[in-house]
Symmetry: C2
Amino acid sequence: MTRNRFDVWAPSASSMTLVAGGVDHAMSRADGGWWSADLVPAGRMIRYGYRIDGGEQVFPDPRSRRQPDGVHGLSQTFELQHNWGDADWTGRQLAGSVIYELHVGTFTEAGTLDSAIERLDHLVELGVDLVEVMPVNAFNGVHGWGYDGVAWFAVHEPYGGPEAYARFVDACHQRGLGVIQDVVYNHLGPSGNYLPQFGPYLNFDVANPWGAAVNLDGEGSDEVRRYILDNVRMWLDDFHVDGLRLDAVHALLDHRAMHLLEEMAAEVESLSAHLRRPLSLIAESDLNDPRMISPRASGGLGMDGQWSDDFHHAVVANLTGDGGGYYADFADLDALVGVFEDGFWHAGDFSTFRGRRHGRPVTPSVRSWQLVVCSDNHDQIGNRADGRRLATMVSRDRLAVAAALTILGPGTPMIFQGEEWGSRQPWMFFTSHPEEELGQAVSEGRKKEFAKMAWDLDAVPDPQDPATFHGSKVAWHELDDADHAGLLGWYKCLIEVRRSYEAFTSPDFAGAARGDEWFVARRGDAVIAVNFGAEELTLPVSGRLVAEWGRADDTDELVLGSASIAVLVDVE
Amino acid sequence: MTRNRFDVWAPSASSMTLVAGGVDHAMSRADGGWWSADLVPAGRMIRYGYRIDGGEQVFPDPRSRRQPDGVHGLSQTFELQHNWGDADWTGRQLAGSVIYELHVGTFTEAGTLDSAIERLDHLVELGVDLVEVMPVNAFNGVHGWGYDGVAWFAVHEPYGGPEAYARFVDACHQRGLGVIQDVVYNHLGPSGNYLPQFGPYLNFDVANPWGAAVNLDGEGSDEVRRYILDNVRMWLDDFHVDGLRLDAVHALLDHRAMHLLEEMAAEVESLSAHLRRPLSLIAESDLNDPRMISPRASGGLGMDGQWSDDFHHAVVANLTGDGGGYYADFADLDALVGVFEDGFWHAGDFSTFRGRRHGRPVTPSVRSWQLVVCSDNHDQIGNRADGRRLATMVSRDRLAVAAALTILGPGTPMIFQGEEWGSRQPWMFFTSHPEEELGQAVSEGRKKEFAKMAWDLDAVPDPQDPATFHGSKVAWHELDDADHAGLLGWYKCLIEVRRSYEAFTSPDFAGAARGDEWFVARRGDAVIAVNFGAEELTLPVSGRLVAEWGRADDTDELVLGSASIAVLVDVE
């Protein structure tokens, strides 16, 4: 059961040494810059690492499956032992689904995958279909958001390591929940990245906001792409994951004729056929480029879905009235009409925030569910200096509006942990770099970032302060409060309505109209009507009322009280 | 007739002054960062420039149409006066054409557009359809290749300026020749680039091998793109040019949903409909990406054609036996079979030179004529330290083979000035930067470049030495030599054969086969057969012999002498 074969890619090395159980073993050179060694007899769970060109330092395996002592320590041999109980699982596709985004370290008090399993029934009751876990790969320190991963093949040990991740995915499947995993292929974290010692993993000529770009198209990049594609396969195949959310794909700099994403889409399509279950690739993209989610056969990159910031901005800017920063161009109900009708609001017109024209219209092949939409997510909350949620910025009535628009509008809705009861607990940016200098740089960097935006710097929590991490934990106790529980009921009701009437999961975009203080969207024979104003509103719409917030009556025409929402079906 | 309205884009300026005829005129701010001034009464051909924020220096107009004193001097007002005589011109499309590449400064002894006109009849007799002129925009110094242009809207004064360019294009049209103009939008030259004083024309975050990239997708880039697109329109519309060859498009860094090239293709398509003549866009691209030349409607960038280095490398590496540098992977007849059958030789397989996989197969929409092919061009010759031509590296028989493969193979053939008679005159890299320091840097840079490649540095001509320029002038006197005249006859014969039989301009790629020392290509009912070897060759091919080099007989089967070529039609 235990692996006794060691392979590592180190194309420029003139000698490679496997250091296992404290003993040096010379490796032999194989083809294409690979080195290998067999360890006989093979022990179980051996700590090991690689010495390059006889150097002093022993580095962890670039493809390490376990880093028990953190990302700087030795790797550990690993074979997944988990006894899978999801043989009946047939998968879960993006179309028709509701996503729930969670962060393992803060979803529960214990912050582990096993403790997260204990909360899965809450998600089943809520009615979601897909659990999206923020990065679980190994990163520097004990707690953090996870986007600074450096050991991409290992599961973060403080979360419970790879066996715990298998248990988590299995537990999801056994409850009918699919798993989307957040993965970061556009950069490596600032500490613990030993890949450049082994090979040309990075492109130092080009930087993105998080450091050197990954070498996707330069010399030696075939193996770098293989590294990423093998990582994709590992999660989907070995760990039974149902899809990946690909972080910041605009930073995947690749000028090849076959872009990495297209190559990935092709491999995942084959794997899906082989595994006989749907597998989804969801890109985080702010390019407003329909090519991202267009079929490969028609020149697209073949992603199944992508995040749509425009939807978020249109909802939040209209509910908060905030038109600053990247909310400029969105704080008008026209933007809400735009995202309902066309998906992208910026489809070739001028973006004030970018100071240039942006995007292009979605092509006819694009299905509305290919856009993943939300009113809050880890990034949007984290982009506020103090990590405040939408729930602390607008009234409960407006939270209900955000929920209705997101869950019943076009797009695949995503809910961020605690949003479903309007949690007021902040979600702050936190790190735990053990290196003092790096920690300080991160703390100061965060302050500088918000100083530019004229935030009160006293309101910017120190990412390195453990209190920032602990203060970001999901506040489950809020559910004891009737107001919170009431909002949870509204979320459940909306998801139930979404499931019950096909109109709400139609691949088409919506029709929409607005007044000064009202917004109405039509999806097939269903209508979502919102009265933002203080006055009663009458609309010439007749149908069957299946959900209401506030006061709504639809005897002959729709009468909607102030700050009220009505959802109608069978509308003529 | 004379322009008296002055407009300039300077979005960050707080005041702008038009300096005309030595007098300052305050400009008024218009929309979108534009400034304008009217000059009454308007004089004819006024020297003018712009003073930014009351500064001391007066800069030339970014859209200057004339720079009589060079790129650092004042601009001059200009209205094209040329009386066009090409009213009957209906255009010339890429499909079916033969291109002739020339450099105005070296094509004739005088090095002007007017003197080039005197040589046009030679091109008509040769049988070419399109004249491709290397850059004519204004650049620093008197002579140079032209790729260091800085005043993109002005025609280089030493060539004769804009009126002379109009005369040249007109003269071409009146002889039935179309004009393709080489334009550079990926960078600006190292001296005389005042654009950054005016606005965010450059993206200093990203460099390409020639300096800062042009800002195509950052803040303010809408106007930068307009600058380029207006330049495109100016050449095609005002100067009646028939197409543009776009330099090094891989360096046009643009992450917008609508790439600059796609936007350009759409505008040029509209312009073509408006002008009622075909207009071509030809990209210099080494990406081997069929998206470049695929229709916009199917996800392509919509270029009409692109250069195909693979063809050049396959021909040259096989004829010279040189397999070094970027000729690696090509010095085998399989590569020649590959480019004849599939267009790209690297279509997803490993490229030794790049150290990674490269390219992808051409899509079914791609027509063979969309690939512009050659056995020599300004770049390939210039990439040799001493500017030696293929003609000095292989036998006359092999030059004849290069010609036959290029002119009758799939692809749109391009001939470089003098190639048609196997000129032995070198084509060297030359510059004439007046600034001593820059000149020295360029000279040393050139040496350093070739030092890396282990060339004898004494063989590297000094680009700044006027002798390097003069030594690169086309040696027309060579035509007095019978051998040269004989090769010219072969070129004429091949072009005549190409024109006479449809098979040679078929949109399809070819069938091809090889032996140890022979190569045969089939295009429809035509065959091109080459015997590289010293032994007589017999091939079971029967057809009508329409061109032969060396010794060929096709009574029952094809008997081909050593170092011979046969072109057959009506092959069964």
